[in-house]
């Protein structure tokens, strides 16, 4: 039965709230924004048809408050809620509270969110659907001898992880039998120190894995399809920085195998609406192996690259599915066309441990050029608050080839002035110009191995032109210091011939006129 949303509340902020509000307007559906005290003047508030204050700046008092959000829905007559990503988007309790309140939650049913949110239950579903998972176990007997036995069963190289942990803290790589005894002891010690619990999980180490995920759509009538892959290997501390579609590592046969695995998993889980099945990929080409990681039961940050290559608007699709519509596509009618690259523009300092930056956007000008889409929730004169994620915007470049998309992304970043707070823009350019990125030779350790050099290169000495501009602007005097805290980096900051060639006016010269 079709029951189209008549008024949609967006339980989020920033760029994703703006993105969803725009989609509502495109569909002729009135939108309701919610905001905290810190966001009273944020772009998503002005864009929506109605805006409701839901609480104080702290997320727990506002964007994470189920009662405040449902109150706002009731007061404004919203009959559907889009959760965006983060905040309450994967909170089964929120989805079921919506169901109880008679409000359509634009996402999967609460029970599905709950099942897939549990690592153990999700692995069991993958197993049942015949989808490979990374071999691993938590031995019931936690003696050193039993862990050594488990390590041999799982197969070297292995990763010892604190069972109680997360975020990569206390993980130990062990490559062979000889390093095993000492490694178990050290991993145990670190697990106890960090988490007060020495229980260890033994996992096969996937060497130089890529992170490749499959977008799926499932309707309420049992139909499932996949919208191909996104490669998200450029990440640091499990946060994605650059994503692209298609993946340079997939062949058509491997793409089909991964897509079918993702659909099998979605069917086994009783999935509804848009979701993403994340895999680790080992190797490239038809002989590569893939292993299930987890399902993200929501719209992903990086969804626009899928939209650019498939032509499908995923937010429109989510709203249609939530309204009970059947999928409008068949698998055979979907194609990937061209290439898209997304870079995440963060308020953070790459030269200083990626320290998040909060402060005013004194000058903020988005570039406008062919093949560029910018999803942002920022304005000149606005500010990046300490309370929330430091994502300022996503810049998505597309083109007929990967190389054109890459060059367009660089050209746009070079024309994306953000002043008043530090951003990672120059660091993003360095990533896109790195020979390994250019050739598509990337894995999830890319920023661990190449990051230091990229960070140094991204923060060169102040060039004479910048000083001249400062003087023309009326800078008090010629007392000009190098960026404080920076070491002298003359050798690395000097542009190589390769980098100089990537100047946008040169690389895109062929596209003029």
């Amino acid at each position: 039965m079709e029951r189209h949303p008549r008024r949609i509340l967006i339980a989020n902020r920033g760029e994703i709230a703006v993105r969803v509000i725009r989609a509502c307007r495109e569909l002729g559906i009135p939108s309701v924004a919610v905001y905290s005290d810190a966001d009273a003047r944020a772009p998503h508030v002005f864009l929506a048809d109605i805006a409701v204050r839901i609480g104080e700046a702290s997320p727990a008092e506002s964007y994470l408050s189920i009662s405040a959000i449902l109150d706002a829905a009731r007061k404004t007559g919203a009959d559907a809620i889009h959760p965006g990503y983060g905040f309450l988007s994967e909170n089964a309790g929120f989805a079921s509270a919506c169901e109880r309140a008679g409000v359509t939650f634009i996402g999967p049913p609460a029970a599905v969110i709950e099942r897939l949110g549990s690592k153990i239950a999700a692995r069991a579903i993958a197993h049942q659907a015949g989808v490979p998972v990374v071999p691993g176990e938590t031995p019931a007997d936690q003696s050193a001898g039993a862990i050594a036995e488990a390590s041999r069963r799982v197969g070297f190289p292995i990763l010892l992880k604190p069972s109680a942990g997360g975020g990569g803290i206390g993980m130990k790589t062990i490559r062979d039998e000889r390093a095993l005894a000492a490694g178990i002891e050290q991993a145990r010690r670190e697990a106890v120190a960090a988490f007060g619990d020495g229980t260890l999980y033994v996992e096969r180490l996937i060497e130089r894995p890529r992170h490749v995920e499959i977008q799926v759509l499932a309707d309420n009538h049992g139909d499932v399809l996949y919208l191909f892959e996104r490669e998200c290997s450029i990440q640091r501390r499990h946060q994605k920085v650059v994503e692209e579609a298609p993946s340079p590592a997939l062949t058509p046969a491997l793409r089909r195998r991964m897509g079918e695995a993702a659909m099998a998993l979605a069917r086994a889980a009783g999935y509804r609406n848009a979701g993403t099945v994340e895999f680790l990929l080992e190797g490239t080409g038809d002989r590569a192996s893939f292993y299930f990681l987890e399902v993200n039961t929501r719209l992903q940050v990086e969804h626009p690259i899928t939209e650019r290559v498939t032509g499908v608007d995923l937010v429109h699709a989510q709203i249609a599915i939530a309204g009970g519509e059947r999928l409008r596509w068949t698998q055979d009618s979907l194609t990937q066309r061209g290439h898209a690259i997304e870079v995440r523009v963060y308020a953070e300092d790459p030269a200083n441990d990626d320290l998040p930056q909060a402060g005013p956007l004194l000058l903020y000008r988005e570039p406008s050029m062919p093949g560029i889409r910018i999803d942002s929730g920022a304005n000149e004169g606005g500010e990046v608050s300490v309370y929330y994620d430091p994502l300022i915007a996503k810049l998505i470049a597309d083109g007929e080839t990967r190389e054109i998309a890459r060059r367009r992304a660089i050209a746009a970043l070079r024309n994306y002035p953000i002043l008043g707070i530090r951003t990672n823009i120059s660091f993003l350019i360095e990533i896109l110009e790195h020979p390994r990125f250019v050739s598509g030779d990337i894995d999830t350790r890319f920023l661990d191995t190449e990051g230091e050099e990229l960070r140094v290169r991204s923060a060169p000495d102040v060039p004479p032109e910048a000083i001249e501009v400062a003087r023309a602007f009326g800078h008090p005097k010629s007392d000009v210091s190098r960026r404080s805290g920076e070491p002298a980096t003359a050798d690395l900051s000097r542009r190589t011939g390769e980098a100089a060639k990537a100047d946008p006016w040169e690389t895109l010269r062929g596209y003029r006129g």
Binding site: G86, G167, I169, E190, A193, A194, F195, R237, Q239, E348, D349, N352, D353, D354, L355, P356, Q357, A358, L362, L363, R365, V386, Y388, D389, P390, I410, R414, N415, Y416, P417, I418, L419, G420, S426, S458, P460, V462, P463, P464, E465, A466, E468, V469, A470, R471, A472, F473, H475, P476, K477, D479, V480, S481, R483, S484, G485, A500, D503, W505, E506
Partner: protein, 131 residues
């Protein structure tokens, strides 16, 4: 050559880079500093009153390490009395959904730990004292 175009925009010509003609640069004032953006790089040009650049951890003479902004303690890696080397991870914080590692600024011994896992800590309040 720099020409003022208005609205924070500047035309920079005669660049050192061969083959590159003019570029648009941007500038804005922030108290005593001037921010300049050229070709993807943002530069902060300090005025007379130099402000210290925000650091991942602030260190005073007694080597007390504190959070740079309101943050949650995710993990405490070291124990009081433990010897650490420069750069060792001491405490992992999280703020704005990002991990903020607090590392030893130099070799020494952990004297006291003044935080708990899960605790919300404020900037400037010592978390770890070293000697």
């Amino acid at each position: 050559m720099v020409e003022t175009l208005g609205h924070g925009r500047f035309l920079v010509s005669g660049s050192r880079k061969p083959g590159v003609g003019s570029q648009i640069a941007y500038a804005v004032a922030d108290r005593a500093r001037t921010w300049v953006f050229i070709e993807g790089h943002a530069y902060v040009i300090e005025g007379d009153d130099r402000e210290g650049h925000a650091r991942a951890h602030t260190t005073d003479d007694q080597m007390a390490l504190s959070a740079p902004m309101p943050a949650t303690v995710v993990a405490i890696i070291v124990a009081p009395g433990q010897e650490v080397a420069a750069g060792d991870l001491l405490v992992m914080l999280e703020a704005m959904k990002m991990e903020l590692p607090i590392r030893a600024p130099r070799a020494g011994r952990v004297k006291t730990l003044a935080c708990r896992e899960g605790e919300l800590v404020q900037p400037g309040v010592p978390l770890v004292e070293m000697e």
